[in-house]
């Protein structure tokens, strides 16, 4: 079954309702026993004597979607997953809001958990996405650690 690149980008924050809907959709798949979900949330870090109030995300979208597709295929190859979903915000996401949603499902828990963690690491490291931290007073480019 050949898969095609899917859009992973969402304009603005990812709502809890979207997450609930995504979970709900999996109730039809009765061979799933375990879901693992990772959510990235924007922190109100102190920066340059000010505080982060939002992050504005931009991406090299075509490259990011191609890369996300490669990562998807590699992780599906490595782990017997039933489902995998990746969503990343573009544009402004306020502190306390969700900017990344990674969701894996499988028959048994170990596979779902390991695959989700690997996806999060690869997404952070390999996707050409940039966050600009908008401070109460100024702005600064986010650096991933």
């Amino acid at each position: 079954m050949a898969r095609k690149p899917k859009n992973i980008f969402v304009e603005g924050a990812i709502s809890p309702e979207k997450i609930a809907t995504s979970i709900q959709h999996h109730s039809e798949k009765t061979d799933i026993g375990a879901h693992s979900i990772f959510l990235g949330q924007v922190r109100a870090d102190e920066k340059e004597g000010s505080v982060v109030r939002a992050i504005e995300y931009t991406a090299y979208e075509e490259m990011a979607l191609q890369k996300a597709f490669e990562i998807r295929e590699a992780v599906f190859e490595k782990y017997p997953l039933t489902c995998m979903h990746i969503y990343h915000s573009l544009g402004e996401v306020k502190t306390g809001e969700i900017c990344l949603f990674v969701f894996t499902s499988s028959k048994h828990r170990k596979v779902a958990i390991d695959a989700c963690e690997e996806l999060v690491e690869r997404i952070k490291k390999e996707l050409p996405v940039w966050g600009k931290e908008l401070l109460e007073n100024g702005e600064t480019w986010k650096v991933n650690t």
Binding site: G40, Y57, T58, A59, Y60, E62, M63, Q66, K67, H88, C99, L100, V120, I123, K124, K125, E126, L127, P128, V129, W130, G131, K132, W141, K142, V143, N144
Partner: protein, 78 residues
Amino acid sequence: MELFKIKAFGLLAEKLQASEFDFPYHKDTEQLLNALKESHPELQSSKFSLAVDKNLVQQNTGLNGNEEIALLPPFSGG
């Protein structure tokens, strides 16, 4: 003479004050990088990678002038 259309992202787009700009053809990525740094000194103090046709360049790569070139600062998604 062909011109590259070069994309710049994040901090680099800000520094160069452009998210896309034209630049003269060079025959490989090493020469292109050197020329870019010469004409845009603000790139010399920046950490960035080069992507050719949406793939990160790991070593010097020949160019024919039709490639999509992009300047990518360190990723900070998620």
